[in-house]
Amino acid sequence: MSKLNPLLHQELRLSIVSFLAGVETADFKKLMEVTQATKGNLSVQISKLQKAEYITIAKSFKGSYPHTNCALTPKGEKDFEIYLKELKELLNI
């Protein structure tokens, strides 16, 4: 189990990356809704994923409200595929 990518092998970060793998972009509110995470915890985890260049974060304004949009990067996509492959090998599926 130790060889699994530790950045992805964490519940909330894996949820974020898995969701983003299925869509092109998702905003902060949507990620909060699908992951059921708190605002603070989600902020911390998406920052870690951004630092690792797994996701991009685009901040803008929708009307007078700040809007944060996240998307998976090619690096994030590639490492997610590797993680999935290793996971399947580990479970023999």
Partner: protein, 184 residues
């Protein structure tokens, strides 16, 4: 975290992302309920002064309603899939080509219904394929059939009635069916 838990998370999240997020039935129903009576009205008002004014009025009303709803929806949904992007590009291309087609046909004294039905059929067919919603695939084919009838079978004075019938089977009926599935 156990590897089995990881698999559960991945499956759950991918399933969540594949859910139909946008409620597209609204657009088909709004345009359907505007265009069907407009086509019938055109048939009965043919030859009367300013009867063609029905279309710019209907176009403006539908356009404003669709734009306001689209803005509200994008705020609510909060995510965009490749399918959403392909769908919006398809309908964007439909709109531009339709205006060019209307300009070309009216300039040359032809009925514009044929080109609109053929284009609407193509866009509806693609939308149905992307969303895997068969009633729209069938609706798209029926719109094309209505376009062929206008092009080769009936004289122009009946085109507006064929147009209304085409929109009814291509937009309204699949729109109602989609609305029901969205409300489940």
């Amino acid at each position: 975290m156990e590897p089995t838990k990881s698999i559960e998370i991945i499956e759950g999240m991918l399933l969540e992302s594949k859910k139909s997020l946008h409620r597209n039935s609204f657009y088909f129903l709004v345009w359907g309920f505007l265009l069907v009576p407009a086509g019938i009205a055109e048939y009965y008002l043919q030859g009367k002064p300013l009867f063609m004014m029905i279309w710019p009025i209907v176009g403006m009303v539908g356009g404003v309603i669709s734009m306001l709803y689209g803005r509200k929806e994008s705020k609510r949904v909060g995510a965009e899939t490749t399918g959403d992007r392909v769908t919006s590009y398809t309908w964007g291309a439909f709109l531009v080509t339709m205006f060019i087609g209307i300009g070309y046909t009216t300039y040359n004294g032809l009925s514009p219904h044929t080109i609109i039905l053929l284009l609407a059929g193509m866009a509806t067919f693609i939308s149905g394929g992307i969303s895997k919603f068969t009633p729209f695939v069938i609706g798209g084919i029926l719109l094309q059939v209505a376009g062929i009838i206008c092009a080769f079978v009936l004289e122009p004075s009946y085109h507006s009635l064929v147009f209304s019938a085409g929109i009814f089977v291509g937009y309204v009926i699949p729109g109602i069916l989609l609305r029901r599935s969205e409300n489940v």
